[in-house]
């Protein structure tokens, strides 16, 4: 057992770190550090810098632009991205739609979409949740009816992150209302956001930010060639994606950066033992999560097996820590301060409550572990 990175892994980390030091635009880094709003241009600018370097989609196969890094190198890279305070890479194209296309897409679909995702030409969003279908996603009702070479889509999606920036949306839609199992009536469809009949309506969250939306589909005509995998196999696709999605949810690099910032801004507050102990416990939770995450990675590397259901605990602990950080930050700032940063910190606290709800609520994650890992 050796918890330290090997010399090669350290050299890799240093290479990544050195490159990031000179290539993350300072203005974007500043925005991330101060929890300022990131525009679509900001997000796309950073995406393209990484694409140019060849590092925007490390996990993809090499022929589509992947780096060929192993799981540990990919983890180090992601951690360094978070640690240096670069803007987030929006996952909907890079690490959601693309893996689905790579696994289930036709050659034509791959040729058409993957290079544009890689280069940041298309901005993607995810059409899963509906007003009546949150945790119980398989109850979704948005309907797609085959009409010649097209599907006609009617219905509504909700909580659609950055739909107002998006060029494309990948959707779970119901193609068969009478399937024996309701999961079998679901299909995975790619829809151009410029298609007539699509309306995007902002949903303002309690921090006042416009991040999520409602998306309405009113007789939207979608070419049948935009169906991914077979009709009725959408649930298989979604489940595949779920496993793919969960490995990075710990967001450990970013939390380490925020912890360092919190420590720096709370030097005086740490004279209060009650605050200091809360801070220590949070730091220790993060240490434990990091090692747990490395243990899972090590297991993946050794067995060559995809992550098991127990990686759901990374999402649970990772998001609890992210929330804990925002809570302590709010307690670290002067309660009467109205400067820009202090206001942003309070809003951040509000905003981060979403983390234990999105991407499969933490209760759903517990259901997954209970069923898949513990056999309950």
């Amino acid at each position: 057992m050796d918890l330290n990175y090997s010399a090669e892994e350290l050299a890799f980390r240093d290479e990544v770190r050195a490159w990031l030091r000179t290539n993350v635009p300072a203005d974007l880094q500043e925005k991330v550090a101060t929890y300022a709003h990131l525009s679509k241009d900001d997000l796309v600018r950073w995406h393209r810098i990484l694409a140019k370097k060849g590092w925007v989609a490390p996990a993809w196969p090499k022929e589509w632009g992947g780096t060929g890094w192993n799981v540990v190198q990919r983890y180090i890279f992601e951690e360094e991205l978070g640690y240096c305070g670069s803007p987030p890479l929006i996952p909907f194209g890079l690490s959601m739609c693309a893996p689905v296309l790579l696994r289930f897409g036709t050659e034509a679909q791959k040729q058409r979409f993957l290079p544009r995702i890689y280069n940041g030409d298309d901005f993607w969003c995810q059409g899963y949740s509906e007003p009546g279908s949150g945790s119980d996603l398989a109850s979704l009702k948005t309907k797609a009816v085959r009409d010649g070479d097209s599907y006609i889509v009617n219905g509504q999606k909700i909580w659609t992150t950055l739909a107002h920036y998006a060029d494309w949306i990948f959707c779970l839609v119901r193609t068969d209302a009478n399937a024996a199992r309701r999961q079998e009536g679901i299909s995975f469809l790619l829809i151009d956001m410029k298609t007539p009949g699509i309306t995007v309506r902002p949903l303002i969250l309690m921090d006042g930010a416009h991040e999520v939306n409602e998306v309405f589909f009113d007789d939207v005509r979608v070419p049948a060639e935009n169906l991914v995998h077979e009709e009725g196999k959408g649930w298989t696709v979604a489940k595949y994606l779920l496993g793919y999605e969960r490995m990075n949810t710990g967001r450990i690099g970013a939390s380490k950066r925020e912890l360092a910032a919190l420590k720096k801004m709370s030097i005086e507050r740490q004279n209060d033992d009650r605050f200091r102990d809360r801070l220590s416990r949070l730091e220790i939770e993060l240490m434990a999560l990091e090692i747990t995450n490395l243990r899972f990675l090590d297991r993946m590397r050794r067995t060559g097996q995809p992550p098991g259901a127990d990686v759901s605990m990374l999402k649970i602990k990772g998001t609890e820590i992210q929330q804990g950080l925002t809570e302590l930050m709010m307690q670290a700032i002067d309660p009467v301060a109205q400067d820009e940063f202090s206001v942003a910190v309070r809003k951040r606290y509000l905003s981060m409550r979403k983390t234990t709800i999105y991407a499969g609520s933490n209760e759903i994650q517990r259901n997954i572990i209970a069923k898949m890992t513990l056999g309950l």
Binding site: M1, D2, K317
Partner: protein
């Protein structure tokens, strides 16, 4: 980076586990506790398997191993709730230095040791009032784990201004059993002849960190048992016509217990690896304190939930889970409770 046990570590862990499964079942353990409180035969087996010599230097018959080498063994001890005082002997042996004449007989299982350090009112701080002068010790040491069956004791004492270490024959013991059924004793020292040893406060802190790290691994093992046995109970215990594990309220609590155990195990890995490999005493101490805090929180969480989810049966002396509860309660506070380590963690 690599979390795998080496082939030797795995082989040892497997043989320890097999031995404990065959010879250290819950009923056998009960008989040991109700009898002498330890088993000489088991001790002999531990020596033969190489556990007692594992962290000792090769030239005294040891294997030159470290805390990581012992980790899998400690996890197995934790699962079986082993009562034989292996850690007290190994930590005291560590304080004897690398060349002491007693080490080979420790490795062979012929000499048992204990470390007499804690004093009344000191809690976990290194406050030492026992005094050494002119070849003898005077003072009182409290709750010395393993002392009743130790042949020799390593004692911390003040020699002028400095705190040093001394070796004595077993003397002046008032034995008792601890909350978790282990053997311990208060030690009254009255002009007790003592042999000065090398070492000072920093060696004491190192040995305590070593014992604490092993205790973390042992606690992780006891938590694994508590989780496994509770899961089994949820699947078999029926109420309202169904296994109680079908209730989501209980499923989520069970999941949280497993998460606590996994997180605790990660911190035990960190603590043991920083005992073997560190660039400074502060780095080692910080890792051990962090682990102790996490293990204290997790031990409390897992043990309390294990009893609660067992219902009345969890309270019963008849079930091993109540013994695991007691062991975890003691391990959580051994060599410093969470409050003590929070203070130390923040100071480093």
């Amino acid at each position: 980076m690599n979390f795998d046990y080496s082939e030797e570590q795995q082989l040892l862990a497997d043989s320890v586990r097999r031995f404990l499964q065959d010879r250290y079942g819950f009923e056998q353990r009960k008989a040991i506790v109700a009898g002498e409180g330890w088993s000489p035969q088991v001790w002999k087996q531990f020596a033969e398997m190489g556990i007692l010599g594992l962290p000792l230097p090769a030239d005294v018959g040891g294997f030159g191993g470290g805390a990581v080498d012992l980790m899998a063994v400690m996890e197995a001890f934790g699962e079986a709730l082993v009562v034989e005082p292996v850690v007290p002997t190994l930590m005291a042996a560590r304080l004897l230095g690398k060349h002491h004449r007693l080490l080979s007989s420790v490795a062979e299982g012929r000499t048992r040791l204990a470390f007499a350090h804690a004093e009344k009112g000191a809690r976990y701080r290194p406050l030492v009032n026992t005094r050494y002068s002119s070849g003898t010790l005077n003072g009182e040491k409290c709750a010395v784990a393993g002392a009743p069956i130790a042949d020799k004791l390593v004692v911390s004492a003040r020699d002028g201004e400095r705190i040093g270490l001394f070796l004595i024959d077993k003397a002046g013991l008032r034995g008792h059993s601890t909350l978790d059924g282990m053997l311990a004793a208060d030690v009254v020292l009255t002009n007790t002849p003592a042999e000065p040893l090398e070492g000072d406060l920093s060696s004491i802190e190192e040995a305590i960190d070593f014992a604490a790290a092993l205790g973390c691994a042992e606690a992780a093992g006891a938590m694994k048992f508590a989780c496994d046995t509770t899961l089994e109970y949820l699947k078999t215990r029926k109420q309202f016509g169904v296994p109680i594990g079908t209730f989501q309220a209980l499923q989520h609590r069970m999941v949280d217990m497993y998460i606590s155990w996994e997180q605790a195990r990660s911190m035990a890995c960190l603590a043991c690896s920083k005992i073997d490999n560190n660039t400074s005493a502060a780095e080692r101490a910080r890792a051990v304190s962090a682990a102790k805090i996490k293990i204290a929180d997790a031990a409390r969480h897992v043990s309390q939930e294990a009893v609660q989810l067992h219902g009345g049966m969890g309270m019963s002396e008849e079930l091993k889970v109540s013994h695991a509860f007691r062991r975890l309660t003691v391990l959580a506070a051994e060599w410093g409770d969470a409050d003590f380590h929070l203070e130390r963690f923040a100071s480093l």
